[in-house]
Amino acid sequence: MGAELFDLRPALAPLVSAICAGLVMLVGYRPGWRAGLALAAPVLKFGVVWSMLPGALAGTTYRISFGEVLPGLAFAFRVDALGLFFALVSSTLWIAATVYALAYMRGRPGQQRFFGFFALCVSTTVGIAFAENLMTLFVFYELLTVCTYPLLMHDGGLRVRRAGRRYLVYTLSGGALILAGMLLVWHLAGTLSLAGNGILSGVDSRPALLAVFVMLTAGFGVKAAIMPLHAWLPSAMVAPVPVSALLHAVAVVKAGAFGLLRVIYNVFGVDLMRELGYAQVLGAVAGATIILASIVALRQQRLKPLLAWSTISQLSYIVLAASLLTPAAAVAAIIHLANQAFAKITLFFAVGAIERGTGKTRIDELDGIGYRMPLVMGAFTVASLSFIGVPLLAGFITKWYLSLGALEAGAGGYVALLAVSALLNAMYWLPILYRAFFRRPESPAPVRPVSLMMRLPTLVCAIYVVILGIGAEAPAMPFVLAESAVRFAFGMHGVAP
Amino acid sequence: MFCTGLYILLVRQNLVKKLIGLNIMETAVFAFIVTTGMVEGGDPPVLGAGTGPVFVSPLPHALVLTGIVVAVSMTALALALIVRIKREHGTIELDELIRARQ
């Protein structure tokens, strides 16, 4: 591996958006300032994160450390391949989400708070990505809970409050579990560093390892919405659309999935996981989640809950892939972080645009919408086809590698499971497309023009889905990073998976 | 004596009586401390004609003296508070005060 370099940028990346958040809250009562700040920060941060890419590709690891919270446990950032990949995804999507949100939230109350916390959320996400140790990761993980809460509660009202309470109960209990697990890791290994691949490898107390595994996977599993820990997600759909997009495509659920990846690859390490065999149980749970969530999604009448259930199903792809413990599957797990994010955010943007344009939220109201909002529905089509797994779209790549990985692991059953899942996906996405493009509306409702600032991000994200699909080697999203992360986790050097 | 005071403090509802209980306890402790200084056959620790080589330890007396000062100031404060309670609520029976608040 390359050199470790002291560098300000890992800290700068989360800091940019945190400062932006502070400024928005201070001077954001002026719409112009607010919009300017809200746009400047993601662009700046985008630059900072991408500027670390060449170095990271050359094998350099950037790190920076602040005060020690406990003896031997610093508050520190460290950029490795996996973290940088996650940060790239989130900072790219942040630009799109901000542009969209500026248009979507126009004229609504409480924008100052909204954009402040919006920026803070992304700040914490990058913090999670760059965390050097489990403690730093946990800090940002909890901060993310705290920051998304006001966003979720933005619209107020009884239903929203109930959803907010449920969200907190779930995520904070998860947080407590992680904390307990962390405590045990510290007790067993004497370190929480995420820099190695397997800090627990020297521990041979089975019950303790099992306890750590259960606590950490259950803790992160709450945000990754593994069944049966998923119930907060569908009810969290009461939030404004950009929040749902951010929560479900970028920040919260991905933080959970990312945490799981860290636990499997960096805390336990692949070798120890293979030896212990706990991953098979996790894989089975994830497999069940994929199918069950899809079945529930089939029965949804409204668009947003449908998206939520689809998210639950898609996230378990990542978990399943990670639990297979083979290089190809690991690639699938990591790139699905990006694939699912881009496709799902496209869908959310489209749904939000439809809601803004026509006021419609139910699936059976969508007859003929494809002709009224061609751009938006085009994007919707691309993203949903990607989820079904049509070749040349992003989702296909995931499934390809995942199937490879499953075969590698000798778990051919999962290939069949993927096929069933693709079928189920087709069963709930295709009827929507059919309605949108092939049914005449009974009474053509007037369509309000939707701002370009909402349509453009939708389109860009859809294009990204295509690029990710055709150009696995294309420079748009550096899959090379995913590969180098996998090589590190599996202790391989120079062998392409 | 200590227990008598504690009993009064716990059982009586009248604040003044509680305070008296407290004072009885204090006296008990002071008396105890003074006896610890007692030495068999010792003389008062005052130098003068006819005093032997064995003295009663003077330290406890100093302690108790300070203790009494503290106790007096506390009693004074408590009495002032009780007067204020009487003025505000018209009673100094604790159970009545608690009932009045509900």
Binding site: G67, V69 | F2, V29, A78, E88
Partner: protein, 489 residues
Amino acid sequence: MVPLVFLLPLAAAALLPALFGARPRLAWYAALAVALATTVAAAVVAGALPAAGELRYAVGGWAAPLGIELRFDRIAAVTVAFGAVTALAITFSRTLTDSVPRPVLFYTLVLVNLGGLNGFALAADLFNLFVFMELLSVSAYALVAATRQPGAALAAIKYLLPGAVSSLLVLFAIGVLFALTGSLNMADVGARLAGVEAPAAVALALGALTVGFLVKAALFPLHFWLPDAHSAAPGPVSALLSALVVKVGVLGLLRTFELFGAAAGPGLLRLETLLTVLGAVAVVAGAVAAVVQHELKRMLAYSTVSNIGYIVLGLGLATTASVAGSIAHVFYHGLTKAGLFLAAAALVDRTGLHDIDDLRGLGHRMPWSATALSAGMIAVAGVPPTAGFVGKWQIALGALEGGRPLPVTVLLVTVVLGGALLALAYGIRVINALFFRAPTHHRVVAAREAPLSMLVPLVVLIGLALSAGLSGAAVIEFVRPVAEAFVGR
């Protein structure tokens, strides 16, 4: 330098009414300056500690064990926090003069309290320990009753009676110890206790001291006086009481253990078990009680009960990690709780409303105070890297390290984490009410943000509480020798 730490506030307290009797504003400046100077003095001495180990100072030149001796050790370094919090509380009470009948006397009492606190931390002999304890207790009783608010006097007397009994218990124990050893100097008593052949009497003294200090520390179930006193007192006084004065019980407990270290082996072990159990119960009971409270300040008071539980639990677990965590938590909880009470006082005083439900929507009227309160709530729950985290983490670690049977370990860790979760639960209730509910009370709609003299101290304290975790390693390392001495008896 050492005697300055407690002499400065006491001397100033004596002069304050004489010099500025009729001029509260000047008295405010003077009191603030004195508190700050005291803090600086304490900080200078504390800064010299790592090099010197322990600073001793014989008052009037008489050597120990006969003379009066002061000792500035690592535990006494907490006087820096005492001074700083007091200074901030005085700053905060600049505009309090409207509700306090005699502001100059108020400042005087605050300074007496500070002198008592610092003296208590410094005292090297038992009797001075007692005198300073009484000094700070009596001033605390008086401070509770310092407002015109009805019920304050009642709360004060309810605070005074158990307080006085606990003081008597301590005095009684001191008497017993003197009878046994013939000395009052703590180091001397400790050394001589080892040779005393009267286990019953030693146990009696130990028990009386422990119970006495536990009442002062308000450990559940001896906490009954605390919620009334802390919620009825004026804002800055609540901050002082909850952040500093209860900690005297903890310090006393530490000194007690130090004292008996050499003497009572098995008795002390039983006591540790008792402390562990009581501490664990207090953590949960205090947090549960806080969750169901309606009044903001009362909720904070119960939160203190819960946090004292943590500290005592950590002492009871008696591992280096947990004891260091407990001592760090004394310091950290002081910062956080002082900030919380000041923020709560700002909200409550500006609106005159006490119930959390009445304060709904105030976050939009008083954004700074409300944000500080919310952030403090998160800090007190112990979300890393805030101040609450370090202590709780160390205490949980101590529970793991103790080598106890598995179910006990699991239970203890669950208690530590569960207490933190409950703390989040009541914190979120407050945040919800302040920011996410529509105002229900007309006074909330009319409320204005607190003046700068109130905002500065509370923002400073909460800012410290939020970022304090980053210095956790330094604090833990600083108190580690104390913890090692404590455990290695």
